[in-house]
């Protein structure tokens, strides 16, 4: 397709604001008379709260209130949970029992954050430690201490799906392999921790909320928990978010602060410090044990898989169990695998609660799938590129229905992998590896080819909870042309750095043929907003882009109708160009943008009948191919669009330290039509950096007594600029047939394939010494231990 603005290298609309330090984050929200919160947290893995004495804290001048769980839990409703487990109750503060080290027990409100922290140290809590469980496998054994005894079990969700003739395929296959891999507990750790400010207006009976969020149905959930009507909570979506990548859910923070603001009558703000964020911010990601069985033929054809995924969600659940659900929609990766058995098990332990992390469970699953492909190749002595190409869905086979009921929209996986191999200069990469090995060094090549499901239908909700019949995950856009002819696009959710203002302006500019630089994009607040489901699930290019295109087309249609009426010709004889409408041919008859706009705004007598005055249009878009409930055997169209990323990486390992160095990194990427290539590439760079962290460094480690050992960046290692190699990125475009411009999602790009590729490379490096690692992160210590001949 030939585009005017889409896909062109254009400066983003957000850059000037951020580069010049003019972003407005929650820490910039200063309300008159605002007070500040610090938390009292439990030091125990599990403990009954016997007494809380706040006198010494309240004795400090400037300390206003100490809120306990007892008071709060009586006044608010439990937070929503994604699966059918109503007795796993979760409140912002512990309710009689604290279930992990770091759980919030009381909140102190004071004139300043410093004072609140000092006062929090003076709150005395009597704890009675009780038995706890940390091991996810042991937690589902009989007799294990129960995290929520009322629930009766530590299993939150468990189901065995069988899609297709799994047993027959296993019986027919020439070879079978079974193995276990483990994805460690990591997350995203944005520069900005979670923060929220709230103010209650008793005259209007209205709670105003400014928060650093990326959370579907956030205003609704806040209102429900606070027992307020939805229109008594107004969330400002124009607050900039200093990084999220999934984790900025913040519902417990907001209910806590909203309650305090309403109760105390002054504005209250809470911004987590790093320790509060890491221990009790409920932002840890998936923590998964995969047991895989794979059945395949001698020529490398993979016939079937059995996957058991045991996920440790910690002590409470919001949407976290659903992170086992999304991968159902890409459960065979880019491969033609005829049947699959999938048994997701979501379990409770006495650890910090899990939340959504970039990819919503897909990256761990991709790591498991790619591990399976590599093992099959190793078993058969096949080349890792050849086995992938052997099993790829061919570009002529789309739309392609996978066993679990999702149809992939489009793709050309062979070409994307070839492009990545070419970008990595694969032949020279192999030579470099061999040269390093000859010189006595450890070196390995990793390859991964992974899918990024995008467009965010929420089909895992009804799949994992039959009581939840959600079948739409719509998004919306409102476009206004004012009397001056200027265009304003209104989006209806917040952004966490994904460049949505650029997206909307580019799409509106493309359809209306007006310069995107002249288009303003604003964020509605939740009371003026059209329906939106927030920028999760790599969905905004598709959904907000689609909604903006739909609204712009309605504007264009109105302009054409006005022109036809005033020029006295049918619309079919008209030509729209850059906002002006002319009669086709050299007639000289035309109406300019300004004239058309003026008619719409002032001259009702010149408006065609039936058209409303002014010039505005809204468009609410349902997710393409959405709208259905799962079948009885759990088949469903999970997401509509599928991007592919192929990673090729050369790793060298220092045998003395176990440090893995990424010597060369190439990524081939196909997310259909790119609306702004710089944004796509930026997201992908960040995603790869994040993936390097998950593969080699980041882990929320717990001690045997349930203490989080990596609470700060001294122990929770994130890759710095020194650990991120120069990355060669190469694009390919297979347009999606389901979207306006052929775009697919790319918000999670890079992260969905990097850990798999790096793990593959480390194991290729360790291969010659007969060692391998089946667990992420592959820390220097883990690698060094294996080099020394230590156990897996």
């Amino acid at each position: 397709m030939n585009f005017r603005y889409i896909g062109k290298k254009r400066r983003t609309k957000e850059d000037p604001r951020f580069v010049t330090g003019r972003g407005r984050f929650v820490a910039d929200v200063a309300l008159p008379g605002m007070k500040h919160v610090a938390l009292v947290t439990s030091p125990h893995a599990a403990a009954r709260i016997k007494a809380i004495r706040a006198e010494k804290a309240l004795a400090l001048q400037g300390v206003h209130y100490v809120l306990t769980g007892e008071e709060l839990c009586a006044a608010v409703d439990p937070l929503l949970i994604g699966v059918d487990a109503p007795l796993v109750r979760r409140y912002p503060l512990a309710n009689g029992v604290a279930r992990y080290a770091g759980e919030w027990v009381a909140a102190v409100v004071a004139d300043s954050r410093h004072l609140a922290e000092d006062a929090a140290e003076r709150v005395e809590v009597d704890y009675e430690p009780i038995p706890y469980i940390l091991d996810a496998e042991k937690s589902i054994e009989p007799g294990a201490p129960l995290v929520h005894p009322e629930h009766g079990s530590n299993v939150l969700y468990r189901r065995k799906f069988v899609w297709g003739p799994v047993e027959e395929d296993f019986a027919r296959a020439a070879h079978r392999l079974s193995f276990r891999v483990r994805w460690g507990r990591s997350a995203t750790v944005p520069i900005e921790t979670f923060g929220v400010a709230a103010q209650w207006d008793p005259a209007q009976q209205l709670l105003d909320v400014w928060a650093s969020i990326q959370m579907p149905k956030f205003p609704d959930q806040t209102a429900r928990a606070l027992r307020l009507p939805g229109n008594a909570v107004r969330v400002y979506f124009d607050v900039d978010v200093g990084g999220s990548f999934g984790v900025k859910r913040g519902i417990k923070h907001t209910v806590l602060v909203g309650y305090l603001a309403k109760k105390l009558g002054f504005p209250v703000r809470f911004i987590e410090d790093r320790l509060e964020n890491m221990r009790g911010g409920d932002m840890h990601g998936p923590d998964r044990i995969f047991d895989l069985q794979v059945a395949f033929d001698a020529d490398g054809t993979i016939r079937s898989m059995k996957i058991r995924a045991l996920d440790d969600v910690g002590a409470y659940a919001g949407r976290s169990p659903l992170q086992l659900g999304k991968p159902v929609g890409a459960i065979v990766g880019p491969y033609r695998i005829g049947s699959v058995e999938y048994e997701p098990i979501s379990v409770l332990t006495n650890k910090t609660a899990q939340e959504a992390v970039r990819g919503f469970g897909q990256s761990p699953t991709n790591y498991a799938l790619e591990s399976a492909v590599d093992r099959v190749a190793r078993h058969l002595g096949m080349d890792r590129v050849a086995i992938r190409k052997k099993n790829f869905i061919g570009k002529d086979q789309f739309p392609y229905l996978i066993p679990s009921g999702t149809t992939y929209d489009s793709g050309d996986y062979h070409t994307v992998l070839d492009k990545a191999l070419a970008a990595a200069e694969y032949a020279s990469l192999v030579e470099m590896r061999e040269a390093a090995r000859k010189a006595g060094r450890l070196a390995g090549i990793g390859i991964s080819t992974c899918l990024e499901p995008s467009g965010g239908n929420t089909a895992f909700e009804p799949l994992f909870n039959p009581k939840n019949e959600t079948t739409t995950w719509m998004d919306s856009c409102l476009v206004r042309i004012d009397l001056s002819g200027a265009i304003t696009g209104v989006m209806n959710t917040s952004s966490a750095g994904q460049g949505h203002e650029t997206l909307v302006a580019t799409v509106l500019g493309e359809i209306l043929e007006r310069d995107p630089d002249t288009i303003r994009v604003v964020h509605a607040d939740s009371l003026t907003a059209l329906p939106s489901n927030s920028p999760v699930a790599s969905r905004m290019a598709i959904m907000l882009g689609g909604a903006a295109a739909g609204a712009a087309k309605r504007i264009k249609a109105a302009l054409l109708a006005i022109a036809a009426h005033n020029l006295g010709v049918p619309e079919t004889l008209l030509e729209y160009r850059e906002g002006n409408v002319a009669v086709k041919g050299a007639t000289g008859k035309s109406l300019g943008w300004d004239q058309l706009v003026e008619i719409a705004h002032r001259k009702f007598h010149r408006m065609p009948p039936g058209l409303e005055p002014g010039l505005q249009a809204k468009f609410v878009w349902e997710v393409p191919k959405g709208g259905a409930l799962p079948t009885a055997d759990g088949r469903i169209q999970m997401y509509p669009c599928f991007s592919l990323e192929a990673h090729v990486v050369l790793v060298e390992i220092d045998p003395a330290t176990g440090q893995a160095k990424l010597v060369r990194y190439a990524c081939g990427h196909d997310c259909g039509t790119m609306i702004n290539p710089d944004i796509v590439h930026g997201l992908t760079y960040g995603g790869i950096a994040h993936g390097i962290g998950a593969a080699l460094y980041e882990k929320f480690a717990y001690s045997d007594n349930g203490q989080l050992l990596s609470q700060s960046f001294m122990d929770y290692l994130i890759p710095s600029a020194l650990e991120i190699p120069s990355i060669t990125m190469v694009d390919h475009c297979t347009p999606s047939p389901l979207t306006e411009f052929g775009q697919k999602g790319s918000g999670e790009a890079g992260y969905l394939g990097a850990p798999a590729a790096i793990a593959c490379a480390v194991n290729d490096a360790l291969g010659p010494m007969g060692a391998s690692i089946d667990e992420l992160p592959m820390t220097p210590l883990a690698i060094w231990t294996r080099i020394q001949g230590g156990p897996t």
Binding site: P43, L275, Q707, L709
Partner: protein, 151 residues
């Protein structure tokens, strides 16, 4: 998380005198690092306040110290339990006193402590260093007490 300490130190005092000193609550108050109050609960059991700083975390513990398994003058176990703003700690150490030369005693110690809360996670890699530092402060204070007793 568990923290192990182990070592030995030669002290310039006869075994019997050192024994008396080690179980003396007044000496305990002066030698336990950060200890700011000792109140007797019963024989060999005291309530105490402890102010401690580990890495960038500082705070106070309220807790108890107990002396058990006494075999005068050669062996005893010191158990310390505390809870406070920065978490909890629970530890015990066995002390063995061996006569060395004239007016000289070798004190061997071995123990472990469990920590919870903020302090457990802040710089776990520095904790063993901190433990060594605290043990060092203990002996420095003890030597000062010995000198004062001799003076």
């Amino acid at each position: 998380m568990a923290l192990e300490v182990q070592g030995e130190q030669t002290l310039q005092l006869g075994r019997a005198e050192l024994w008396r000193m080690l179980i003396d609550p007044a000496v305990l108050a002066k030698t336990i690092p950060g200890c700011n109050a000792v109140r007797r609960i019963e024989e060999d059991r005291y309530e105490m306040g402890l102010k401690i700083q580990v890495a960038n975390v500082s705070g106070e513990y309220m807790g108890s110290v107990a002396i058990t398994d006494k075999r005068e003058p050669e062996h005893y176990v010191l158990t310390v339990e505390g809870q406070g703003s920065i978490g909890f700690m629970k530890g015990s150490a066995a002390f063995d006193l061996e006569p060395k030369g004239e007016g000289e005693t070798l004190l061997r110690y071995a123990g472990s402590a469990e920590l919870g809360g903020v302090v457990a996670g802040v710089g776990q890699r520095v904790l063993s260093g901190v433990a060594k530092f605290l043990v060092g402060r203990f002996f420095k204070a003890l030597e000062k007490c010995i000198e004062e007793a001799k003076a």
